[in-house]
Every structure is written in C-alpha cells, then in structure tokens.
C-alpha cells in the first residue's frame, strides 16, 4: 500500500504522447488545439462601418458644409465604393466597407433626411463609428494558441480565419473492461444473486463526454478467458479501464494475468478511501496504461476522476488546476487514509460550499446522483473547520 500522493504522481509519470490528428472544425468542440492558429488577414479586413447612416469626409463638415447630398449607397457585401463629390455623402450600412474619400460615419438617429439631402443634428467626431482594419488583430498574428480548449467561441474564430480543418490532440483508444460472473446486461432481469452492469456503462458515458468512443469488454471470472481478452485489449488500446477483479479474492485473477502478459505493476493498493484496492500498471511494448479500479461504483467513479482525468490532461499537456470549496460541516479524519468524501455544492457569497452527502459505504451507487464531486481530505489531528477551503474533485 502506498500513500495517495505517491500513487497520483506515479500515474501522472506514465502519461503518454497520444499524437495529433486533423479534424473538421465543426467536430472539434471539446478538443485540445494542437497548433497555433493565425489570422489569415487583418480583422476587421477593411475599415468597417459600425452603424447604419451616412459616411462623409469630415473635412467637408469642418469647412462648413451643413447639407449633404446622398450620392449612393454602400451596404455590407458590396465592393468598396468611392465618394465622388467630397462635400456629398454616401448612405452606409453596418458591415459595409467604409467608402474611399470618407472618414466619418453618422447614424440615422442623428440625421434628418429629406429626399436626397441630409442634415446632421448632433456633434460629430472625426473617425466615429468605424471599426478600423486590423484594429482587432493584424494578419499573421496568432489568435489561438496550441493547448487551447476548443469551444463554440473558438470555432467561431477559426471559422473567421478559414481554418476548416485543424490539428487537435488525438484521443486515446480506450477499452472499458468489466469482470465478475454476477453481472448481467441492463436489459436483462437479474437472478436474485446477480446484478446489472453499471460501472462500465458509467465509464463509457463519462468518456463520451470527452469525445472518446470506448470499446467495451466483459470478462467472466475464468483465467483463460481473462488472459485472452486482456492480451487483445492490450494490443489494441492506449488505455484499459477495468472495474472489479483487483481485491484479494480467489477469483480475482487480474493482477496474476497482467504479470503473465508482461504488464509492469506500478502499484497495487493506495492508502485512500474509497478506492483502496486500485491497481495501476503499464505495458511498455504496447505502450498501454492499465487502470484497474475496485469493483464498486463509488470507487470506480472516484478513481476515474482522481487518476484517469489528470493522467489524460497531462498526456495532452493541459495544466491541472485544483478547484477549492468551503466546508459547510466540520469533519475529522482520523484513519491514516486520504479520504474522498462525496459532497453536494452550492454557490453562496461567490464561493462553492460543500455539504457531505450521506452514503452507505462505497457500494452505494445512488449516493453518486446526489453529489457533485468529492472533496479530498488528508488525515490530520486538527478538525477540518466550517468554512475551511479544501480541494474539490468535480464529477459533473
């Protein structure tokens, strides 16, 4: 049994380069950008009119012109127009290219228009209502850096610069593996001594939130079956996520079979609760990381968030940032185990406040739906006080 911090650091030290893949921009939400994106032109790409109204040469106004004849119109999508008579004006629409020989835009609300003649009713500042070419970003500037998490806003920006195919961090090939003869499928009616599969389903759905379509494998408690199944899975995946099969029981063959298959056991058992019988290994030849979680739902869910997600972020070179919450109840941690306690969080005074969710041991699946994550508490003599800030592992 090793301390939690050591287990955590060991897992992260086995992060791997997952490579880069090119995807369509529209399919890149949630992915990690793996290249710098540059502006392919100035933004705005031209001096852009920002109000509907007229464009004039400010000099005309300064020289005493009070009535401007409308020469024509410039709307968005039209090539750049040109003011012919410097004492006249052009009607302009938002998004239009500012016409040549004009430098100032006045909006309709400040105009009186009679036929083709315009009078300006409000003080005018030279250059107003124009979004100048390159004032946001000039051509060639990096507008999105490698490592940025892609969301709707990023996709909008990349659309603007024509980046319709982009390089992102590749997703790992993941297989979720359930073990245990007591498990039946969701659509089956279990016998009294059986239960339905849920761990591997929870993992599959959690992975799908990252865009990972994991394969699924169920192994019966039989050494030959497990050996064959694992051998294939090791070859075809970057990551195996197992649940069950790592405690000390007679039918828990996993650690033994892993050894036979050439998997290096990095550690087995961590001084934490829940999730103590966690087994972590690595197959050097296949470059496969094996997370073998305890079989109960809370342990599996906890360890997925505690170990696998940080491992993945590290593999993607995404920095890990701790979130903190304030305790609503005082807590005492006596046993020499790092505790992960399920909590419900609420906003109050700008901070997240965490209330422990009552649970009935780590086999209690229903507690997971009442909680928003786990707080991480190290054992210590002093009581954890109400209002104290503690590390939070969100699971929503």
């Amino acid at each position: 049994m090793i301390p939690f911090k050591e287990a955590y650091d060991k897992v992260l030290s086995y992060s791997m380069n997952l490579g880069v893949e090119k995807v369509n921009l529209m399919n890149s939400s949630g992915r990690i950008l793996a290249e710098d994106i540059k502006a392919d032109r100035d933004f705005p790409p031209f001096n852009r009119v920002t109000k509907d109204g007229i464009a004039i040469s400010y000099a005309a106004l300064a020289n005493g012109v009070t009535k401007f004849r409308m020469e024509g119109i410039a709307s968005a999508g039209m090539p750049q127009q040109c003011l012919k008579d410097e004492n006249a004006c052009l009607e302009v629409m938002t998004g239009a290219v500012l016409p040549l020989k004009t430098d100032t835009v006045i909006m309709y609300e400040h105009l009186t228009i009679e036929d083709e003649w315009v009078v300006i009713n409000k003080a005018v500042t030279q250059g107003q209502n124009i979004h100048y070419q390159g004032s946001d970003t000039s051509q060639g500037t990096v507008i999105l850096k490698k490592g940025h998490v892609i969301g709707p806003a990023e996709i909008g920006v990349m659309a603007s610069v024509g980046a319709d195919k982009i390089n992102v961090q590749a997703l790992p090939r993941v297989c979720t593996i359930s073990t245990g003869d007591e498990l039946v499928n969701v659509n089956e009616t279990p016998e009294p001594h059986q239960i339905r599969k849920s761990n591997s389903i929870t993992l599959q759905v959690a992975l799908s939130k990252l865009g990972i379509v994991a394969s699924a494998l169920h192994l019966k408690d039989d050494k030959t079956t497990i050996r064959k199944g694992l051998e294939n899975a090791l070859q075809e995946n970057d990551v195996l996520l197992l649940s069950g099969g790592v405690s000390m029981g007679k039918f828990d063959f996993i650690p033994e079979v892993m050894d036979v298959l050439g998997v290096e056991k990095v550690f087995h058992r961590v001084a934490q609760r829940p999730g103590k019988p966690f087994w972590f290994g690595f197959h050097e030849d296949h470059n496969t990381a094996i997370f073998s979680f305890p079989g109960n739902p809370v342990s599996t869910f906890a360890n997925y968030h505690i170990y696998f997600l940080p491992w993945l972020k590290t593999s993607w070179n995404v920095p890990i940032q701790n979130t903190f919450v304030r305790l609503v109840e005082e807590l005492q941690i006596n046993l020499p185990l790092t505790r992960f306690i399920q909590v419900r969080t609420r906003w109050k005074d700008g901070a997240l406040h965490a209330t422990p969710v009552s649970e009935n041991g780590s086999g209690d699946l229903t507690s997971l739906v009442k909680s928003d994550g786990f707080i991480c508490l190290e054992p210590r003599k002093a009581i954890y006080k109400v209002g104290e800030l503690v590390i939070f592992v969100p699971t929503r």
Copy 2:
C-alpha cells in the same frame, strides 16, 4: 427600447412545453429526466459480502470455537450457499451473496489459514463486512426524480435498475439563420469586402453541446428570399436563432418580413450593451419563438447565453440559478444601459474572480476566446468595487 429586465422576463414568459421523448439510456447524457425512476429491487438486492475472506455464524465464535473448517466457497455470481455445520465457515468473495446460516465476514488479512482450517487473529464484531439487502434503497423507492440532469452517474444508477429506455424532455427543433450578402463559407477565400460566416457556426456548436442538431439557413439580403426562407423555417421549427438583419439599415428586412408572416413582435431593442438591437418575436399559430440577434459575434454570443439558454431551461422546467463572481478591478457604469462585460475568471480563496477582457467593441470576435463569460452590471452612481460580487453568465 425596453429595459433589460423587462426584455428578459418577456422572453421567459414565452417559454413553451417542448414535450417528452423516449431515448436509449446510453444516449441520455446531458438530457433532463422527464419521469421518476424507481428501484426495481432492493439495493443491494441481497446481503452482500464486502470483503474477501470467510463467513461464519457469530454464535460459534461466541461459544468458544477457535478453529473453523472451510466447507466450501461462495463467490460473486453464485446462487446463495448455505453453511451446513454451524461451527464451520465458508470462504466468501466480495460481491457474493452472504451464505445462509452465516452473519459475519472476516477478511483474509485477519486470518491464518492452514489447509482447510482457519484461525481468526483479530476481534470480530457480529455482522461486520456485510452490505445489507435494501440498506441503500428499498424496492419501489424513487431514486431519481423528474427534472434531474442526466450524467454518467445517473446513467449508472438507471442501468442498475434496468431502465434501458427513459423519458426525457424533448429537444427543440432549432434553425440557425444567417443573413448578409457579405458572408461567405468557411472554406472559401473571401473577397476584400467579404467575411466568412462565423455566427451561425458558433451557434450550431453551442447548440450541439445541448444535444441539439440545428438546421442552418443562409439568407441573402433580398426581401423575397428572406420571406420564403423564414416562412418555411417558421413552420418546421420551435425556435429560430437569427444573426444580423435587425438594425436600422436599408437592407435589414427581417422585422418587416416577420410582420408580414404573422409573427408577433414582442420587442425590438433593449437597453443593454452589447446586444442592443435584439429583436424577439413569437408566431402563435406555429408556436415558434424567434430570437433575432444583432449581427456581430460578441452580441450574438452574449444574447444566446443571456436569453436563449434561460428560455430553454424554463421550457424544460429546470430552475435558473445565478452564478456570482468577485471583481478584480473596479468598474463604473454611467450610461443607462445594462452592461455585459467579457471577463476571464480564476479561482482564488474558493471564489471565482473576474478580470475584464480588453475588447475592441462588439465586432471583436477574438475577444471571445479570451473570456470565460460575461458579468452583468446595472448602471449606478456608485463604483463597482474590487471584491464586489456580481452576476456571472458563464459561456464555457
């Protein structure tokens, strides 16, 4: 022009019942549960062994038995076994049904085993290491309520009770509509006076995060085209999200065409910045809500989060909860407009702290990738102070 609060309340008053649909459990992540889910059996469904070791009758120990003969084994997935000799024991594995005539489990770590004889090396409490039938949840109990947001944990729970098809709130049929002759597609090279479409793409991706696959329509600035396009779109959708076409320009036909098509204009123009020229309408016969956002990217992105998402939550009967952040800089709001200021947020002392993102007017798309959301500030004489809590509209 109406005040922001009035516009917001009006939009919410047009929320609609979107109905319910049945989906496969595995496809329900992110959806809103539209039925109560009950436990189909007790959880655990039997007295479940929680440690690998032996099961005994505590009475034997109390009566002075010190060496227990192993009669056999009970592992997970086996029907319930029965202890024949009350002074003997059965080897048991985690997840097994507790054998009949036993009531206490002792783990391997506290045993000395020689051949088939077992000696217990540690004090034993009657009933230990058993997860009792129904102790988490008894059959028929509601374990997930209507209105719950579904995530991996909820799907795991529903898998456990065999709910492989479930009722969820239906998604609205949404069409995103872009207008403007200046727009070209992402994979095209724009002429100097043209720009690429980005608003409708940003909206499509934002909607996809909710599971909504929106249709997309681009309308040229031509009254007949716009009329035909909108007429179809009104019939086939619950929601239209438009960008561009609602300012005062000559080619901004939308409000006029909406009127002709029988759309009730609920309001046009809101005392807010950005997003002022927002137009909202409703078609009673088709039961369609029309959000017509200003054409610039920041306004569209802001108003999508400020109006559309709360409208959708209200339609789904999901409560709207405000998030608050603390200001890092002091701010003064003088103009009589509700301000939405882009901010970057950071955790500090358990609270989210917000720093305004420098931006160059509402046409500045690149500012959106630097920000995590908008803070909402009402105009007032007093300065907004450093550390003050203000409403936050997250966009990530």
